[in-house]
């Protein structure tokens, strides 16, 4: 305790000592002082280290999602199998299912192995076929149906390799783990090693991760963020056109026109409390009002966009009111003095001056909106969607998913390959957030005005 230092009675009781050398008491107090300081440093170090560890693990686990193993080999699109009638009519060719295309792929792949002189070493034909992604036949079929003239030619096909082979190239799957894995055998991996030596198997930049729709549990290698990015973009668009005008209008009213009475106070308390309502409760609101009552389709971006708009409305109102309040009263007085009406003062003078602050607040609000997950789970956006939503306005009603929801739904799947996808999706999400935040900071630096 410091009673000795503060009590007026203490000096008489103390032994004589120089004020230039620290006594025992002073030493103890100085030690307490430096301990206290170190606690502060430790606290900051702990917080920042955790942040660093989190970002590090995400980047470490997620960066590989942007590369994907693929197999390249010449592929003869045999007309006998793909177009039995030989008239290249699209309608008749749709009768050939992906099973037919899978056969074409496997035959060509095995032929290539034989040509390169790679022996199978106890790997069965079926296991060889398993090295090719289950998604490849579907992609090939779509390609051929889009351009029937390809039938009968030989193309240099590049198809996705199976997820385990991809994991092997990235070090996630090893010969030891393959022993315990029902989906892949060590022999298959040894064969994959040889394929890599022969240049058939390679790893390439994976645009598909950003453009493909989601894929089922069995084919993590084909899963991409296409639908999630579109869904998030649609929702941000809706938030921008619904939430921002309403938020700005509400702030103008509350800050400039509202009479100071009970009713206005009630609105203010209401807004402050809305900002503290847990996000999941907004999900409940969306489910009952937008889905069950208004009948909007589940998982649609319009339902998600409206829920998120309501959720970030308080944020936008608080930011906008702060920047309107920052405009000094002298501006208003001057405008009113030269004969402008109250409305003209606000719209011609106050609002333009508050604009940079409003824009900054809006961008930061959108950044929060982009990362929001919990309410979207309740309105069904966690559903598996593998069709791109249409172009707006109809597309707003189509089922879609959102970037953070995709992170969650991949993380809850069994195959560890989806954890890599999940982390990759987080990287994409964080890149967007960084861009938005840096934009907001630059905007503030460029236009901020001190009065």
């Amino acid at each position: 305790m410091t009673g000795a230092a503060l009590s007026p009675l203490a000096p008489t009781a103390r032994p004589k000592q120089s004020i230039l050398t620290a006594g025992d008491d002073m030493k103890r107090r100085n030690a307490a002082e430096s301990r206290f300081r170190i606690y502060g440093l430790i606290a900051i170090a702990l917080a920042l280290t955790t942040l660093a560890i989190m970002l590090f693990t995400i980047v470490r686990d997620g960066v590989s999602a942007f590369h994907q193993a693929q197999l390249t080999f010449p592929l003869e699109l045999s007309a006998d199998v793909l177009d039995p009638k030989g008239n290249r009519l699209r309608d008749e060719m749709t009768k050939v299912t992906t099973v037919g295309y899978a056969k074409v792929l496997t035959t060509a792949f095995q032929a290539e192995l034989a040509r390169k002189g790679i022996t199978q070493d106890g790997v069965t034909d079926k296991e060889i076929a398993e090295l090719i992604s289950k998604d490849a036949p579907g992609q090939l079929r779509a390609m051929v149906l889009a351009d029937p003239a390809l039938v009968g030619t030989t193309i240099d096909a590049t198809v996705l390799a199976a997820g385990r082979v991809d994991g092997f190239l990235k070090g996630r799957v090893t010969l030891e783990s393959a022993e315990r894995d029902g989906n892949v055998t060590p022999d298959q991996l040894r064969l994959a090693e040889k394929l890599r030596g022969a240049g058939i198997l390679s790893s390439a930049w994976n645009w598909g991760f950003l453009t493909n729709p989601d894929a089922s549990d069995q084919r993590p290698e084909a899963a991409g963020l296409g639908v999630a990015l579109l869904g998030s973009a649609y929702m941000m668009l809706l938030v921008l056109v619904t939430c921002v005008p309403v938020g700005v209008a509400a702030s103008i009213y509350l800050e400039e026109f509202a009479p100071k009475n009970r009713w206005t106070d009630a609105i203010e308390v209401n807004i402050a409390n809305l900002a503290a309502v847990p996000s999941i409760v907004f999900g409940i609101l969306g489910l009952s009002v937008f889905i069950n009552f208004a009948g909007l389709p589940q998982s649609s971006s319009i339902a998600g966009g409206l829920v998120i708009s309501l959720m970030i409305l308080p944020t936008i109102i608080i930011a906008t009111r702060a920047s309107i309040r920052a405009v000094p009263p002298s501006i208003r007085d001057a405008a009113l003095g030269v004969g402008a009406s109250k409305m003209q003062t606000v719209f011609h003078h106050v609002l333009p001056l508050a604009m940079p602050g409003i824009l900054t607040g809006t961008i930061l609000g959108l950044a929060t909106a982009l990362g929001e997950t919990a309410p979207l789970l309740l309105i069904g956006m966690v559903a598996f969607v593998d069709n791109y939503p249409a172009v707006p306005p109809e597309g707003f009603l189509d089922p879609a998913t959102a970037l953070p929801v995709q992170v969650y739904s991949w993380a809850s799947r069994a195959d560890p390959a989806f954890i890599e996808r999940s982390n990759g999706a987080i990287i994409v999400l964080l890149v967007f957030l960084v861009i938005m935040n840096v934009g907001a900071i630059l905007l503030r630096r460029r236009f901020e005005r001190r009065w």
């Binding site: 309502v277 309501l310 964080l430």
Partner: protein, 486 residues
């Protein structure tokens, strides 16, 4: 006429009204704008608004009301067994709408003539096959009742569409005449336009109130429904939570509240010391340069979406705690646990506590510090004995708000805490929270008549009441014990 076409028509009429009214007002003043009461553009806006407001209002109302009226009319014509209860009615109405949509598509693609679509019966053609060819797949063969209802539906909606178009256009044209004829040099156009704008601004500020009403209404109505089929004593006082979608579930909230509070406690044990010490260091010890670097870095944590923290809990923290603490110490081998979720939520709350406390500490006047230093106190003694007591109400408020955030946090507990509802003291055991169960009961197939689904709403109202109560309490503490420095 489609809604988009109608909107375009309204926009064109509004533009015409703007130009005409502006023109007319200028003409009434003999081309001299100084003789006008308001600036010419206000006359224009008055004209445009008198087109826009009634026409758009009518359009919105019609779009909201027409589906309800049609639904009602159709369901009264359907036989009683098809509309026995709400679920059956929804199902048959969906069939009717789908068939009507199919008929529309068939007419549009020329597979049917409009006359056939209106009069055909089920006996003459195989409708299911016919609609299949135009890309509308029906689940079952069409019954005569459904076909009749669908034809009736098409009839009503086509009349509805015509009526809507006519009403909206008539209102728009009437508004145009009204607005343009009022344009005269003595008309107080600016005042009228400003009144309308003020009304719009006021309506915008009511949206926040409507949201609150919507939240309260949506959770309360379903909660009452839940308590009408499930006794409230069992909900609030039962010690077991075991929902069973075949009926006979035990839906006691106590284990969930226990899990929620336990996780919140752990998170506060992490967040409060770290946040508080960081705030004290930044406010009292750090140089300006350090502060300018460190403070934004800590706030970065607050900008990261919670789902990212969820992944961090699931992939990194959970396995780490399991392998280094829980298993060696014999506390079990669960990756998801109270500790995992609590620690990660704690980290998430650090910037919240530290920036609020930082502001509060900075608000303590310098004269108090100077007085303390003058008496010979060291910096840490000043902090402990002068600054913290002065800032205490604000800091307690910040801690309570952080606790309310921890209680309402969803993604981290969904991914890091587990799903087993139990009453246990072991912090390395998986437990669950109210938010996890809200998500669990409301995702996937839901039946809004079963208590297992409706319980989510009762949980949500409990959560809403708890978090709101904590926040109000925090604000009250801050307001009541705040020191006023002059």
């Amino acid at each position: 006429m489609s809604v988009l076409m109608l909107l375009a028509a309204i926009a064109v009429l509004a533009l015409a009204a703007y130009l005409l009214a502006r023109q007319r007002s200028l003409a009434s003043a003999g081309g001299n704008p100084r003789l006008l009461h308001s600036l010419p553009l206000y006359y224009g806006w008055y004209g445009a608004l008198s087109v826009l407001l009634p026409a758009l209002g009518a359009l919105v109302l019609w779009l909201l009301i027409q589906p309800m009226v049609v639904e009602h009319r159709i369901s009264t014509t359907l036989p009683a067994d098809l509309v026995a209860d709400a679920a059956a009615r929804d199902l048959s109405m969906a069939d009717v709408r789908r068939l009507a949509g199919g008929l529309d598509a068939a007419v549009a693609q020329g597979a049917l003539t409009e006359d056939d679509a209106r009069k055909m019966g089920t006996g003459t053609t195989d409708l299911r096959a016919l609609l299949g060819t135009v890309g509308v797949a029906l689940g079952s063969d069409v019954t005569p009742e459904i076909l009749g209802a669908a034809q009736h539906y098409r009839h009503i909606t086509s009349w509805g569409a015509a009526g809507k178009t006519a009403l909206v256009l008539v209102l728009a044209v009437a508004g145009l005449f009204w607005g343009v004829t009022r344009a005269h040099k003595d008309f107080r156009a600016r005042n009228r336009v400003e009144q309308v704008v003020l009304g719009l601004l006021m309506m915008a500020s009511l949206i926040a109130v409507l949201t609150t009403i919507g939240i309260v209404w949506s959770i309360l109505s379903e909660t009452f429904q839940f308590f009408s089929i499930y006794p409230y004593q069992d909900f609030f006082f039962s010690l077991t939570w075991s929902p069973n979608f075949r009926g006979g579930s035990d839906l006691g909230i106590i284990p969930l509240i226990w899990g929620t509070l336990y996780i919140t406690l752990v998170s506060m044990i992490v967040a409060v010391p770290i946040g508080l010490f960081a705030a004290i260091y930044l406010a009292e010890y750090a140089s300006r340069r350090t502060r300018n670097v460190v403070k934004p870095l800590i706030e970065v944590i607050a900008g990261i979406p919670t789902v990212v923290f969820g992944i961090f809990a699931l992939v990194t923290v959970g396995p780490f705690l399991r392998d280094w603490f829980a298993q060696p110490l014999g506390f079990g081998n669960s990756g998801s646990s109270v500790m995992t979720a609590g620690i990660v939520i704690g980290i998430l709350n650090v910037p919240f506590i530290s920036s609020l406390s930082d502001d509060i500490i900075n608000a303590v006047p310098q004269s108090l510090r100077d007085g303390s230093y003058g008496l010979g106190a060291t910096k840490s003694e000043t902090v402990k004995q002068v600054i913290l007591p002065a800032a205490l109400p604000g800091i307690v408020g910040a801690i309570l708000m952080a606790a309310s955030r921890a209680i309402g946090e969803t993604m981290i507990v969904v991914m890091g805490a587990g799903a087993a509802a139990k009453l246990d003291l072991n912090p390395f055991e998986a437990m669950t929270t109210m938010t996890v169960k809200i998500v669990g009961q409301l995702t996937g197939d839901t039946d809004f008549a079963a208590p297992e689904t409706l319980v989510a709403f009762a949980l949500a109202s409990t959560l809403f009441v708890i978090t709101l109560g904590l926040n109000i309490f925090a604000l009250w503490i801050v307001r009541k014990y705040r020191e006023q420095y002059e």
